[in-house]
Structures are given as C-alpha cells and as structure tokens.
Amino acid sequence: MKSIFSSSGAAPFDEAYASTEDIRALYQQAFRYFDVLGIDGVESLQHSADLSMLNQGVTFTVYSDARGTEKIFPFDLMPRIITAADWNVVEAGVVQRMQALNLFLEDVYHEQKILKDGIVPTAQVMMSSLFCREMSGLNPPGGIHVHIGGIDLIRNASGDFHVLEDNLRVPSGVSYVIENRWVMGRVQSKLLNQYKVRPVDHYPQMLFNSLISLSNRDNPNVAVLTPGIFNSAYFEHSFLANQMGAELVEGQDLLVDRDVVYMKTTKGLQRVDVIYLRIDTDFLDPLAFRPDSMLGVPGIMNAYRAGNVVLANAPGNGVADDKALYAYTPEIIRYYLNQEPILPIIPTYLGSREADLRFMLGNLAELVVKPTDASGGYGILVGSHATKKELADFRVALAANPDHYIAQPIQQLSTHPTWVEQDGNKGFFPRHVDLRPYAVCDVNGDVKVLPGGLTRVALRQGSLVVNSSQGGGSKDTWVLYPNASEVTHA
C-alpha cells in the first residue's frame, strides 16, 4: 500500500518524523490510522469536518473582503501530539512567564522598581504608546493584571520550545481549541480513543472560576464585552459567554451610574461586577481613551478605579507584551522570581539600540523584522522570502523609524504532517506549525494552563506565517496523560 504521507520538505525538526525515513513512535498509530483511510477516506472526513464547522457557525470574518465574508478557520484532521514530558516544560514555562509579567505590570504601574534598578530602560516602558497612564496607581484585585494569557511558542531546529511572543491583552483562539476537539470527537473518535488525551473542554469553567475570584461580592455578575457581531472573533466571544453562562454585552448595553456599572435589561438596570474585556483598551472608555469610540462605555474606568467593577484583562497590559519588551523578558523573570527562564526566547535585535540597528540594516535578508505595534501577522518582513525591492523599501522604513521595529534570526519552525495538495498530489505533507497554550490566573496569582492549545499551521508550502488572517489553519492539539506509553524526542 502506498502511504499518503510524505516527509518531503520537512524542517530540520519535524513533529512526526525523527528523520526522513523514521516515524516517531508517538505518531505511528496515527500514521497507520490515516493510511488505512486512504485519500478518499480522509477527503470525506475533511469534508464533514468543514461542513460541521460551517453549520455550527465556527467562522471568522475577513476584513480585507468588502462584504466581510465569513470563512471557516481551516481545520486539519491530523492532530498534533505532545507527550506529557514535553508538556511539563511548556506548562512550567508558561506559569513562570505569567507570574513574572504580572509582577512586572504591577510594578510599572506603581513603584517602577525595575526601571529604577535599570533592568528595563525607562524609555522602553514610559515612551511606549502601550503604556496606559490611566492605570498608574490603580489597584486591581490581588495586584493581578493578566488574567488570561496566550503564549505563542515555536520549536526550532533544536526541537526545544521557544517563546515567540506573549499575548496579554485579548488572546483569541481558545474557542477553536475546544471546537476542534468536539469536531475531532465527532469525525474520528476512533483515533482519539487510541491515545490517552487530556481534555480541554473545561476551559470555560477555569476562566469562570478565575473571573469570579476577582470580585468580593456574592454571586458576582460576569459579562463578556464584545465590540459586536462584525468583529472577527465574535464567534469566540459568544462561545465563551455561552459556555460560562455569562452575559454577552456590547458597549451600548452598559451604563455607569455613580461609578457603578449596570446592564440595561428588560426589567431595568442590573449591576455588573466582572467584565471580561474582548475590546481593545483604546475603545473601552471614550472619557479616558479615544473620545470617538462608539463601542465603549463612558465612565467605566472611573468605576474600575473606584473598585466597583473588575476588568479582565486589565487595561495597559500591552506594555508587557510589546515585541520590544520581549527582549527583556528573561531579565524580568530573573528579577522578580529569582529563577532562570524555563522557556528560552529567540535572540532579538531592537531597532532602538544602535548596535542592533546596524546589524539589522546589514543583515535584513537573514532576519524576520516585525513592527512592535501590530499583531495578526501584519507588516512582517521575512527577509529570505522578500524581493530586492521589498528589502530596499523596508530598509528605508526601518532607518526612518527604528524604534518601531525588532528583528529576529529566521527560525526553522518545526513542521507537521498536514493534509494539503503538493506537487499535484493530495496527502499529508510537512507544514510549519506553532503552538499557543492558554493560561488563566486567579486573584491569588495561581496560574492554570489548559492542557492543549491552538496549533496553527501555515498551509502554504514553505510559509512561516501561521496567522489565520494570512492563510493559516489549525490543528487539534493532543496533550497525553503521563502514563500513556511514552517516547521522548531523543
């Protein structure tokens, strides 16, 4: 029987192949399962999975499209499997980062010891457009600023997980983690049962527990604040509110009366105690931030400051997940926790440092250059994939505004078998993947990491950009129980 798998084009580290010939023991069952299905079998499963996503309305909106068309987030049938041993490292590393960055945020909005001690340059924090003056001196419950975090990880040629970036403002995608597993359970429960996979569907409960811990009122009312149905992540907002039994509100549903936030209901006003923010801080309160915002709630920051409502995540977290601050995160971990970072970061050159800038300008073709203030994969230059003209143009932009860029050596992201067409054949071919685990933090600073996460995959051959807005797809991520027959990546 001819295999529907091919290792052609695999990165130096592939999740499923130990070498071009050798399938890792961990993946052998999965390979057998799909080989038995054959091309037609996989195609038909893929079709029913896609249809199920579309019917469920598990879609996101593409902005560049004039009509705001809904698309499903392409879902790949081949799961990404992670051993308990590998996961332990990820989990401990994510907890460590969340704790350190929470301490960092509480510090920069209060005493700023880390700046006074010269660990992080004062300008890096205070000159950042993401520093939120309104948060200065404000005391969120427990001193916790990051209640929900998503940490993007990659595996490079070494096979070790590295941190690519932190998402401490509105990390999205967790609904796909849960939906992917549901779809998996529906279309290929057989394979799922062959592995001992840790469940992920208790995430809403984790989130809810963390949110209600933030309020000192009995039976606090929790609301999820969404910009509305036209937001690309609306499905997720609705999903999480639904799963938590919380109210999904828009700015127009809330009003602030004498520093208390209320929802407008058919029976009058009802108090809101905890708000899970899914809108950008800029739009949150026209009195405090952008005055032209129609999405926000006038006066909500005053209510927050008065301690009558809790906002999660706290506004102003951007200063800690800034792409330039990322370079300082190992130092931040050492400074607050007196520990060595568990997850390494990727060497990062800052445009704001003169020596780094010179290096960036001279070696643009070997670097990935990112603007510090954009997300979603927009405005990124991958040096090796750029044309001469693009490089020249970028060099001008970089020189004109060096503070806005950082650069990193191009990483050989690990690859994973993915159902695509390559050279005219349908089959499982290696494609680059990353991993975003999700963590929640309660009022006591206790961080819990969901055993799973979003594995994003770049569906185009050779592409390193995995963002959904740039043609990426996702995979179900299986974290195995410790007692599952284990093979380490030796």
């Binding site: 639904n242 999904l248 009003l255 058919t266 029976k267 009058g268 006003l269």
Partner: protein
C-alpha cells in the same frame, strides 16, 4: 435579560414570520393567477407590491411590473425589508447575536438554510423555493417550541411572531380589495369564489373553514375565521392572544410595561367580544383592516419603548428624595 438581546430575539421571530408570510402572499397570487387565462387584463402583481409596501422600492430597481420581476424582487432582493432573502439574512444575523439564548438545533437549522440560499441559482426556481421557505419556517417554529426552554427568551420570540402574524394576516386579506374583480357582476361568481378559496388555502385555512362553515365560501365567514376565530392559529384573534400571553409571562415591572399590557388586553377584548365584528360590519373591510394594523403598530411602538428602548434610573429630586425616572436609551448609531 439585556434589552438588546430581547429585541434581537423578538426581531428573530418577526423576520421568520415575515418571510413565511411573504411566501404565503406570493402563493395566493400563484393560485389566483391560475385563473388568469379568462381575465388576462387582470393585474395580479401590482397588488403584491401594494400589500408588501414595496412599490416605491420596486420602481427604483425595475421598470415593469411583471411576474418575473415581482417574484425576483420579493424573493431574492438583498436590501428590501420585505424580500424573503432579506428577512432570512436578518433572522440569521439576529440569531448570531443571541446564539446563547436559542437552542443549538434552531441555530443549526437556520444557519444551514442561510448558507443554502446563498448558493447560486437557489432562489431561481420560485415555486420550489416558496415551498421550501414555508416548510423551513414551520419546522423552525416546531424547533422553537420543542427545543427551547419556554422562558423569557421564548416569550420574546413568541411576541415577535404573534404581532407580525396578526399584521401579515390582515395584509393577506388586503389582497381582496386590491385585486379588483373585472366588474361588480363577478361578486359571488366563480372567479370571486376562486379568489377567496385561494386566499384561504394560502393561510392554510381551507380545511379549518370547511370544517367550521361547510363547503360554501362566504366572504363574511372567511373574514370571521381569519380575524376573530380564537382557535385558528393564523387569525388575528389567535395571534393577539399569543402576544398577550407572552407579555403576561414576561411580566410587568414598570408603568410603560403595564400600559402596554392594558392596550393589548383591550384589543384582545374587542376581538373576543362582539366589538370587532361590529366594527367589521360598519367600517367596511378596508377601514377595518387599517384600524387593526394601526392597533398592532401602536402595540409594536409600546413594546419598543417599554422593553427595548428605555431605562429607569434613580435620580434625586429637589427635596433630595430618590425618584425613578424612565429615560430613552441612547439612539443606536
């Protein structure tokens, strides 16, 4: 419940009901135009535009009133509020905003239908499409009643359905005065008879009528069935009874809500007792239907004011007493 959510659920019910009734209206016409061979000068398509309040919008898109154009407009136009496609798109949009309030089955069914009608050519086969829509809407109501908890959300949905149905049933009855007979001599003749029968069938009322009033089709009895019958589910009386029940289940906590309930009860009383019958006889059909529509409009306005578009806030008056004041919510931008 959030006012916005309540409004969206109400509109979800309204849009589904409207889509179904447009399909029913187009169906009356299809049935009536079967007889058109004898009376080719009879314009049966302009009345469709009149009762769906579509003439002006139609004229901006089409030059000529033909079967093809009117059908295409009322079925597939994407902007006109009285096109079936528009109603279903709206309904699905509303459902998306209230997904956590409706059942999974309702959402799946509506979302599938939505994706289905976006397929090219889907709305081209008018007859088949109209049948599909009627079946879809009926099945949707079945899901509403059987898979959704009969709580506040369900009652707001029922409120939207009931009020829209009362209005649309009177619109369907309007057909008879828009669709003029070739001459007064035709009253009571086969063509007239045929039209009443087509009308009854389009509201699924033919069997109900026959069982109650036997084979002879008497216009007065048809009007009585579709307006005053307390048991026929598409009659005005039945629909307003649903509105009243929904309002009572939702409950009243302030004055405007109480005024709304009172207005509805007065209306229901008129339909239940002899007042409506008397009006129907003295006012004539056209004026009577207009008065029913006005009452429905007033109830719709009051629903908007008492549930969706005002909040009560506490203020201190000159003597430092706390008083409750009802203020309109900010206008949506």
């Amino acid at each position: 419940m959030l006012s916005r959510i309540a409004r969206n659920i109400y509109e979800l019910g309204q849009q589904i009901e409207r889509a179904e009734n447009i399909a029913r209206i187009l169906d009356v016409n299809r049935r009536m135009s079967l007889e058109q061979g004898y009376f080719s000068e009879l314009d049966v398509w302009s009345p469709m535009l009149a009762i769906t309040r579509s003439r002006e919008a139609f004229d901006t898109v089409y030059d000529e009133v033909t079967e093809q154009n009117v059908m295409a407009f009322l079925i597939a136009d994407t902007e006109h509020p009285y096109s079936i496609r528009f109603c279903l798109n709206e309904a699905r949009e509303m459902a998306r905003t209230v997904r956590e309030r409706i059942s999974e089955e309702m959402w799946l069914y509506l979302n599938r239908m939505y994706h289905d009608i976006q397929l090219p050519g889907k709305t081209d086969r008018h007859d088949a499409f109209l049948i599909d829509i009627r079946q879809f809407c009926s099945a949707f109501h079945g899901l509403v009643d059987n898979t959704m908890s009969h709580g506040e959300s369900w009652n707001f949905l029922r409120l939207g359905v009931g009020l829209e149905r009362a209005q649309m049933t009177t619109r369907i009855l309007e057909i008879k005065y828009h669709l003029l007979l070739p001459s007064a001599d035709e009253i009571g003749k086969p063509l007239d008879y045929h039209q009443w029968q087509a009308l009854l069938r389009s509201v699924s009322g033919y069997e109900a009528y026959r069982r109650q009033y036997r084979a002879r089709i008497d216009p007065a009895m048809v009007l009585r069935l579709l307006n005053l019958d307390p048991r026929f589910p598409r009659s005005v009386h039945f629909s307003i009874k649903q509105v009243s029940r929904a309002l009572k289940s939702i409950g009243t906590v302030n004055k405007t809500q109480y005024m709304l309930l009172r207005e509805t009860e007065y209306f229901l009383n008129d339909l239940r007792g002899g007042a409506a019958l008397e009006q129907m006889q003295t006012m004539g059909l056209k004026d009577y239907l207009e008065s029913v529509q006005e009452r429905c409009d007033r109830i719709a306005e009051m629903i908007d004011l008492s549930f969706f578009n005002s909040v009560t806030v506490t203020l201190t008056d000159a003597n430092r007493n706390l008083i409750s004041v009802q203020i309109p919510q900010q206008q949506q931008v």
